[in-house]
Symmetry: D2
Subunit: 178 residues, 4 copies
Amino acid sequence: MESFVPSQTIYEATLAILAQRNVSIRSIAEITKHLQDPYIPNLTIEMCEESIQHVLSKREVQNAILTGAELDMLAEKKLLSEPIQSIIESDESLYGVDEILALSILNIYGSIGYTNYGYIDKIKYGVLAELNNHSSKHVHTFMDDLVGAVAAAAASRLAHRHRTQLEEAASLANPPTP
Amino acid sequence: MESFVPSQTIYEATLAILAQRNVSIRSIAEITKHLQDPYIPNLTIEMCEESIQHVLSKREVQNAILTGAELDMLAEKKLLSEPIQSIIESDESLYGVDEILALSILNIYGSIGYTNYGYIDKIKYGVLAELNNHSSKHVHTFMDDLVGAVAAAAASRLAHRHRTQLEEAASLANPPTP
Amino acid sequence: MESFVPSQTIYEATLAILAQRNVSIRSIAEITKHLQDPYIPNLTIEMCEESIQHVLSKREVQNAILTGAELDMLAEKKLLSEPIQSIIESDESLYGVDEILALSILNIYGSIGYTNYGYIDKIKYGVLAELNNHSSKHVHTFMDDLVGAVAAAAASRLAHRHRTQLEEAASLANPPTP
Amino acid sequence: MESFVPSQTIYEATLAILAQRNVSIRSIAEITKHLQDPYIPNLTIEMCEESIQHVLSKREVQNAILTGAELDMLAEKKLLSEPIQSIIESDESLYGVDEILALSILNIYGSIGYTNYGYIDKIKYGVLAELNNHSSKHVHTFMDDLVGAVAAAAASRLAHRHRTQLEEAASLANPPTP
């Protein structure tokens, strides 16, 4: 039988790696709130945090974060071989594997998150600005894209759930005649 | 406020279009069973059908099926303009929008389904052989890829759930010491 | 032997459909120029137009444009069946097939274009604002995403070629010693 | 100005890593030939090798191969941190980042390659069987998917070019009347 790492271990490792890289759930939730505020009345930061917890519970999301953060940290310690060491360390503009891993996170919640991801990645909202500060000693080539994708995926999830609530409210206001 | 079609209407329309195009849930489930039989002991056709019902409840999956089936039916009635009419009607080998819609279904359940999708699409398993019978008067350029993707997505979902069950069983057999 | 529509016919149909939908190559080039101006000194609108012509010569791009524009036009004439008619006509926020077709255009030039696409789609730059004017009698649910993707793909192509030119210039300034 | 690794260096590193991991261009070409033999009369192994050389000249393809092979080699030397070390080393069935990198290669040549990739990955054709021999001391979790994707992308490229040749031949046989 195939041996495997328990799911709970992988989930906890994902939370640990985010903390280790100084990315709080709150800071990701602030991006999600910025994205969805115009569309969901009375959206709270707690609702955004809860949505992010759901996104982080998905195995595909964990795989992407663990893999990307590992490459960031290895590049930081100069433990990769060349030329991939220089490419990742310098956040080379023609290197797109970080965007590819980000997309694998977005896809779990469908294509409606593509636009939000591109937008916040471009304007470097909130914690994304810190992660993109290339003068720091840290390498966050993958982490900034992963965080942006988690925030956008959580926004997509909120959009789907908000629709469900609108429909339920409409149904209560106008019950179908028997 | 944006008006919108109720989710339930979209879900029911998806089931109706599959029935109208002569694709039964059972026939999709048979593909899923063929894919997962080697990996899940005692897998039943009912378990596969249930997994397919879950896949079909996702909005992204409904969007892909409704859009693809509409294009198939319009091509069948020769209601598209040229050259897209000829391209879709003849299932042109360099036309890849059908595979793109299929991928949007697979992505909801992650990348582990890509291989299964490609495999059954190539060997034309079960109902896929009928859908690919180009001598019929029907156009199924999109439907065969959509059905293959739904079957492969349901297989991915079963793989994830089987893992959860194995972990629960292992946990019961070896409870963590307090 | 499989019969097929000649490539030249498909290419010309793609240009014709853009013109018919009031999208000029120049207006797409203006988006591309806005995206690449900060990175490429002396970038001209003509260079952007040439890049867009290259993007439009790819079969995958033509497939996406012809399919998306066809659905827009059918929705405009109310010729689709329900519920897909209402979904496309109202540019439903949970419908993501337009973004999926856009991604298939971007992918031809790699993942570095995802961010640019999301950004301009969000800020509705230039012609995208006109295409998004939902008070017009036209349906551009697909066209705005397709145009944004073509513009972003052309920007990716320019980024790759600019790098090649920088490398050639560096090589001339510092010829390798024999 | 951004410093960068010269393109030629990245290309040569890609060829070197394939050789180092015992994957010859010829062995990839044999997969491509198997895939396209039914569709292209008189297809030679040299034509397949030439197509693979073109695929390997693309930056996105190089990025995927260098990144995936690096992770394979680090896992082989047990230099990754847990749990990603165990996940990659054991080629965990729920880990899909390898398929995601494979897809980024396929996408450069469009969606028509998805099916071919899934098929050969499933049947483990040729060199893919060796790479999947989990009893060896080598880790090829990424390499087998990357090789399959390069082979399928080269097949897509041959399909596009074969069409061009058919059209040119048809044009010579039936010249347009002036």
